[in-house]
Amino acid sequence: MKCRLCDGTAVAEVRQHRMALCDRCYPDWFAEYTDRTIRKFRMCSTDERILVAVSGGKDSLALWDVMCRLGYRVDGMIVELGIGDDGEAAAPGEGYSARSTEFAVGLAEELGRPLWRVDLRRLLGRTVPELPRGQRPVCSACGLTKRYFMNRVAFEGGYDCVATGHNLDDEVATLFGNLLRWQEGYLATQGPVGRQRGRRLMRKIKPFCYFSERETTLYAMIRGIPYVREDCPNAAGAPSIDYKEMFNRLETDARGTKRRFYDGFLKNRDRFREEEEPALGACERCGMPSSIDLCSFCRMVGDAPIHESGALERLRPAGATAGPTGAGGDDPVESHGRKVTDHRASVTVSATGLPGR
């Protein structure tokens, strides 16, 4: 196949857009399309301070990289979950979560951006597998923990919004799961932008909501971004993976199926909205948003040290310094008249702590 843009040898087929691109054109197209999606849904501006929640996986690391290239002011945060760090398979600090953190730290150094590291073991005295989660599946406890800290770090760090690497496959699988169970409350709030409510429930954005998981993988590989390739040990048999495989089969037979399903949902989402949203107060223990006296996270973890005054203050990110020139070394590309910079190659930052808002 030939590259649609330069006639070179294509390496990346983008079936939903009926095209293939070479390894030079693909990262620029990907960046431009990310920016277009950000603008379409009015997610954020280059004036705002953005916190990207990274996991060490391809999506979130690709997001951090591409948003920096586009000129957004993006710092990173990772919750060190302690998954796979116990048992015989790995010594503490050498398991799945530790390896994931290494990739996040590596990219932070290359981008020259600060990375918040929320170490659960240090903060709570226990890891995700050790949380007192009752009947809650471990992935549910993990998701709740990550959502809690991404919101809390964004609020306490003075950021304007939180960006996550959720892609089209994630969105479609979640939507399908919510429809199967007719969870109208979740359906009402799912989408590319989770709006800010009050001062403490931060806006959440998903700039990759129109990219397939395959397309984000291609970006990470072509840009030479190292990421954790192994599956989370807790994810085996997860329904979301079954849903994704099902949708990929549908997409193979009828391209555009996932995008039509998602866009159709977004057009009809308002019918799931309640006329009056439940009032949002503050959790009595941690002060984070909650519709009842204690937020879900505090109910799960009980009276953990996280509630001590200034607990997160002690986690302020160490300054990141620019590492060696990033792989790829692309020239800047144009996006809506704005230069897209390759921060991995050009930025030299030595930040300590967080700059003022």
């Binding site: 390496v11 079936r15 293939a20 996986g57 395959r214 990929n248």
Partner: protein, 64 residues
């Protein structure tokens, strides 16, 4: 050719396209990225008998 897919290794004697290889292994193309001798390859690329192929799963996820 030697084909790495997850923790499995497969061997095929005859050349074929990436598309045909994925069909042989019953792998849905939308869920993977293919590299031939370390270079990303589209589905029309012909894989020779002495090539090494890696099929990288793109799907990740967890349980609600």
């Amino acid at each position: 050719m030697k084909v790495l897919y997850g923790r499995e290794t497969y061997t095929f004697e005859r050349p074929m396209t990436v598309k045909r290889l994925l069909e042989e292994l019953d792998v849905v193309p939308e869920g993977v990225v293919v590299a031939v001798d370390g270079k990303l390859a589209t589905r029309d690329v012909r894989v020779e008998a002495d090539d090494e192929v890696e099929i990288v799963r793109a799907i990740s996820g967890g349980r609600r």
